[in-house]
């Protein structure tokens, strides 16, 4: 077993699926010789040729729309949108088309398409590159939304995504791309969608997160030990499908919950978590579910991102307040 970071885990998932299935192809901006701006597709064009690893024109709607058509032709496209914020340019090809195409065609066609996109703050990116807009797609049912937080999951979830007959939006936490390596097996394996993972046990409060915020929550849980607070951390892994069962069972157990995400507070996916808990485990709650999120303003210039994003201090403070409530 090899130690890999997320970039390597993703590269390995792509290479293995391309090896195993000649229909799998990669397309997007700079995915060829450059290997992607973060090098996630590094080496693929040399190995699989320019017919299957395609540098496309700079046109996000074109990339997504073409992927839909490629899938109907029997290919299995894995499209890269250079940054999640630029899914906006292809928005009308994602929710209203890709996600809806099975329904639109009364089930005659389906779209086995994966859209990969890095996102997230913390690496001093230029404007639009950090925007965490995952919740916007939840209102477009038909597409699954996958948010890995670590190398093992990144590989297993990506292989699951590529093999899923339905479209998947696969959001990669660029802040963690070259972060801590962990054991990532060679060879194909899948991590199922809709199965949240308890990444840290804890008795008194559950921190719920996905993507890079999981790492933040783990740090917060560590810090809280000093206060004598035992915090569990639940990694949702996928927003659609949502693992309501594990979420509710876990929060019912601790009676307290703090949701953490890097997108703005209002109508972020944290709201859905809180509302779901309200409906399902209201009577098991010892305190109101709290949210820690970015503020309700656009992502600021990188010089200010540390104040904008949920910080360790804000998470810890929210947990303390929840414990006292």
């Amino acid at each position: 077993m090899a130690e890999r970071n997320i970039v390597e885990a993703i590269n390995s998932a792509l290479a293995e699926e391309m090896e195993a299935d000649p229909r799998v192809m990669v397309l997007g901006l700079d995915v060829g010789k450059l290997g992607g701006v973060f090098r996630t597709t590094s080496g693929l064009v040399d190995r699989f040729g320019a017919e299957r690893v395609v540098d496309t024109p700079l046109a996000e709607a074109g990339i997504v729309g073409a992927s839909l058509g490629l899938a109907l032709a029997g290919m299995v496209p894995v499209a890269e949108i250079q940054f999640l914020g630029f899914t906006a340019q292809g928005f009308h090809q994602i929710g209203p088309q890709l996600a809806k195409y099975r329904q639109r065609s009364r089930g005659r066609y389906h779209c086995q398409v994966t859209i990969r996109a890095p996102f997230g703050g913390g690496i001093r990116s230029p404007e639009f590159h950090s925007d965490g807009v995952e919740a916007q797609f939840v209102q477009s049912p038909g597409i699954k939304i996958v948010m890995p937080s670590n190398p093992y999951d990144a590989k297993g979830l990506l292989i699951e995504a590529i093999r899923d007959p339905d479209p998947v939006l696969f959001c990669e936490p660029d802040r963690l791309y070259r972060g801590r390596r962990s054991e990532v097996p060679d060879g194909a394996y899948t991590v199922p969608f809709g199965k949240a993972q308890l990444v840290r046990e804890g008795e008194q409060v559950t921190l719920v997160a996905w993507s890079a915020a999981v790492e933040l929550c783990l740090r917060a849980a560590d810090a809280l030990v000093a206060d004598g607070i035992s915090a569990a951390v639940l990694d949702l892994r996928t927003l659609v499908p949502l693992d309501v069962e594990t979420l509710c069972a876990q929060v019912a157990k601790t009676g307290r919950c703090v949701v953490v995400h890097e997108a703005p507070l209002s109508a972020g996916f944290g709201a859905e978590i809180s509302a779901t808990l309200m409906e399902e485990v209201f009577y098991d709650l010892d305190a109101p579910v709290a949210r820690v999120a970015a503020f309700d303003v656009p992502f600021p210039p990188a010089s200010l991102e540390d104040y904008y994003l949920p910080s360790l201090d804000r998470v810890v403070a929210a947990v303390r307040r929840t414990m006292e409530a």
């Binding site: 192809m25 017919e51 496309t56 024109p57 046109a59 709607a61 074109g62 997504v64 729309g65 073409a66 992927s67 839909l68 058509g69 490629l70 899938a71 109907l72 032709a73 029997g74 290919m75 496209p77 009308h92 090809q93 209203p96 088309q97 195409y101 099975r102 329904q103 639109r104 065609s105 009364r106 089930g107 005659r108 066609y109 389906h110 049912p141 038909g142 899923d164 007959p165 339905d166 809709g194 659609v240 499908p241 949502l242 309501v244 069962e245």
Partner: protein, 361 residues
């Protein structure tokens, strides 16, 4: 066939193609590809298209049909282009107005009718029919069609894609992204632009300042050709050429067909608010069906009797399809959840159960 003026290498676009003139005579020097037998077949399909539209409009007025956009006046585009592709090998990616083209391509009329009646299962395109669903999101079909054509080539299939778009749709970003990508990938595709002069109430004159939509092709590195879109023989010719080009590895083409929407945008529209009667009358004088009938009459192949007989036969055919569609099972409430996921998420399964229970109880 012969363009009005000789094509010149120096011009970004060939002169407008014309074969069968509005008065039912053949343009000077034109040598039509369509032989008489075939032209009769084209006429029958054009009449079928018009008669179907007329029937639907009548039904819609009685509340028996959904919102519908007729192809009246555009039958030469609809049929001439469809006859140039091969339903066995080639794929058709429609917008919404070229309904009878998809029927010509193998989609049963009762199936597409069932779609307008809100049916689910009975509205599913049958396996083997190489047609994509009607597209209501203007121009969204274009990058999809490019991807399809590109993918078919990657899959080493001997297939060409034909896709339709309107003068309105030509302004969408998707038009640009779809055509540019087709140029880059040299995808085997024909973009058929039906310039019917209107996007709902918006005149082609304010849709774009270009003289000619075919000029756009040069900006994507492929062939553009303008054609009299009320001339089924010319439409057939230029589409055949484009299909041959695509099939032989020559890449995409853009066909700009000049036609006229001789009816409303759709059954909720009222063109008297914005359309000049003169323009409409002028268009009527260039009717794509009448000119074929005149030409065939000149050859002794068409007369009032034959017209009456065909009309009768086609009406029956169309009504049979409509009856089938009407009688096909209506959707059940739980069909709300049909055809969304291969395996629905638990939350959706629960919602479905709630709906079914609610209905049951």
């Amino acid at each position: 066939m012969s363009p009005r003026t000789a094509p010149s290498k120096n011009r970004a676009v060939q002169a407008r193609r014309s074969v069968l003139l509005a008065d039912g005579t053949i343009a000077h020097g034109a040598r039509p590809r369509m032989e008489e037998e075939f032209l009769l077949e084209a006429l029958r399909w054009m009449m079928k298209s018009r008669l179907y539209d007329q029937k639907v409009i009548a039904l819609q007025r009685q509340g028996l049909f959904g919102v519908y956009s007729p192809g009246i006046g555009q039958e030469a585009c609809i049929i001439g282009s469809a006859m140039a592709v091969d339903p066995v090998r080639d794929w058709m990616v429609p917008q919404y107005r070229e309904l009878m083209a998809t029927v010509h391509h193998g989609l049963p009329l009762e199936v597409i009718t069932a779609q307008y009646l809100g049916k689910i299962g009975p509205a599913r395109i049958p396996e083997g029919v190489k047609v994509l669903p009607t597209q209501v999101s203007i121009a969204a079909q274009l990058p999809q069609a490019t991807g399809l054509a590109w993918g078919l080539r990657l899959r080493r299939q001997d297939s060409v894609v034909i896709t339709y778009v309107g003068d309105g749709g030509s302004s969408e970003g998707d038009f640009h992204e779809g055509l540019n990508l087709a140029g880059v990938t040299r995808a085997p595709i024909v973009f058929f632009l039906s310039n019917n002069q209107w996007a709902i109430s918006t005149s082609r004159k304010v849709q774009t300042a270009t003289r000619n939509f075919a000029l756009r092709a040069a900006g994507y590195g492929f062939e553009g050709v303008e054609v009299d879109g009320n001339d089924v023989m010319a439409v057939y010719d230029v589409t055949c050429e484009a299909v041959e080009r695509a099939r032989s590895g020559g890449g995409p083409s853009l066909i700009a067909a000049e036609t006229y929407r001789m009816s409303f945008h759709n059954t909720t529209d009222n063109p008297s608010r914005y359309q000049d009667q003169k323009d409409y009358d002028e268009a009527r004088s260039r009717d794509p069906i009448e000119r074929v009938q005149k030409y065939l009459a000149g050859l002794g192949l068409w007369d009032a009797k034959r017209e009456a007989q065909w009309t009768e036969e086609i009406r029956e055919e169309n009504e049979r399809a409509m009856k089938m569609a009407t009688e096909a099972p209506a959707p059940r409430p739980e069909d709300v959840f049909a055809n969304v996921y291969e395996e629905p998420p638990p939350r959706v399964i629960r919602q479905r159960a709630d709906l079914v229970d609610g209905q049951g109880g």
